[in-house]
Symmetry: C2
DNA sequence: CGTGCATTTGACGGGGCTCAATCGCCGTGG
DNA sequence: CCACGGCGATTGAGCCCCGTCAAATGCACG
């Protein structure tokens, strides 16, 4: 198993190379022999930084990744969580508009942007996939904007439903991220997130066997809050 | 001058056709003879609705357009304002993820989605432009998300700077939208928007000769608030 | 068992929302 | 020319949700 840790920022494929052929399943990365390189990042290690040249495009194979921006006063806003199968880092501009960090240990497929764009020029199918993935990210970003204007209860309920849908789809969720991550994603404080969760637990809407583990007891109540 | 008003929703090019050749300047729409159709919409008239099939892609030639979503409880969140030159309605999915309305009278270039996608399949250059425009919209959506976690003062300051940059770039701005539009864009109430503006006027940061007209007196103070 | 970090819980204050009244602008008609 | 009505915008009063500050609890690891 390959492992590349402590690799700070501006992560192009470094010394460790993947065992050549990676069975890429994603629509964007198959049909082309872009055979990227896989890299592994420890938790809280930067994958790329805001403002850095966007020379690579990434796909989560394992683990989870957060992309975020930092305001001048230090507040951090997480723009998206990326789970296995998700593509991130697609920028049309030269530079990344946000930073990316592994949440816990994550294995990521890395593809040279120039190679992908060249392939897109050659094969219309690749170009179409590239556009679809970007358009889907746009829709998700808009979904996220909708979150940010709701009440704390609505934001937390929406978040739980989103995560339950993306991780397993079952009613038991093993969250990969901390309360601080959740708070920065929802535009709340950790205290408000925590209080809202215990409040939902008190209403028998959810159950909290462990801080990272959440069981959805009453999905319709959550959907009602989702508004 | 062509004019097509009261055209409710699901707006495909209707009976009125443009005087054939439209000098399209936008990167996305030139280099192809997609010679779309221009349509005119009165203020507050729907151009397309959320959930409707996304059969067309649009570009503002004149006037301004808002795209928005409505939450189940009736709250409206404006996702973006589209000014002359802006492209909107690009969806990879079959259906529109939001609704679009003209703010005041607006003239819009309409291009069949299938034609644009076919052209993208034939010409790599078109495909690249399509991707670039979508990626830029993604970045703008993320910028918008950053707005929504700031304080009221910061949101209004950011909004004024954004609009000043997009309309003219000068320090005098003639806003096309109402206070309600601004509030729904910033995730605030009209009262808070209004109070914040008068507050900024009191601090000699801006001037309000008319409710729609705003003069930026102290740009650096606004930048400081923008945080 | 002790240390460190994440999470929870509590008390309190303030920023923005709600409800309501007033103002200002503009078009219409007497 | 002015009165009136309608609508958008402003202003005021009160309250509540959520942020802030602080302390306690739980949990993993040495």
């Amino acid at each position: 198993m390959l492992r590349q840790t402590g690799n700070q920022s501006a992560a192009g494929p470094g010394s460790q190379r993947a065992p050549s052929s990676v069975p890429s399943i994603a629509p964007l990365f198959d049909s082309i022999e872009l055979a990227g390189v896989t890299m592994s990042f420890d938790g809280n290690v930067e994958i790329f930084g805001e403002g850095e040249p966007a020379d690579y495009i990434y796909k989560v194979l394992n683990g989870s990744v957060r992309t975020y921006r930092v305001l001048t006063d230090g507040r951090r806003q997480i723009t998206a969580f990326h789970l296995p199968g998700d593509v991130f880092g697609l920028e049309s501009a030269e530079d990344h508009s946000c930073s990316a960090e592994a949440i816990s240990q994550a294995i990521v497929l890395v593809v040279k942007r120039s190679a992908l764009l060249a392939a897109a020029d050659r094969e219309a199918n690749v170009a179409r996939q590239l556009w679809r993935v970007t358009a889907r990210a746009l829709r998700q970003s808009q979904d996220h904007s909708m979150l940010l204007v709701k009440s704390a209860q609505e934001r937390v309920a929406s978040f739980l439903l989103e995560m339950a849908g993306r991780l397993s789809g079952a009613s038991a969720v093993e969250l990969p991220m901390t309360r601080q991550d959740i708070a920065d994603y929802l535009g709340l404080t950790i205290e408000t997130v925590s209080r809202t969760l215990t409040q939902l637990q008190g209403a028998a809407t959810i159950e909290l066997p462990a801080s990272r583990r959440i069981v959805l007891r009453n999905r319709s109540a959550l959907n009602r809050l989702d508004s």
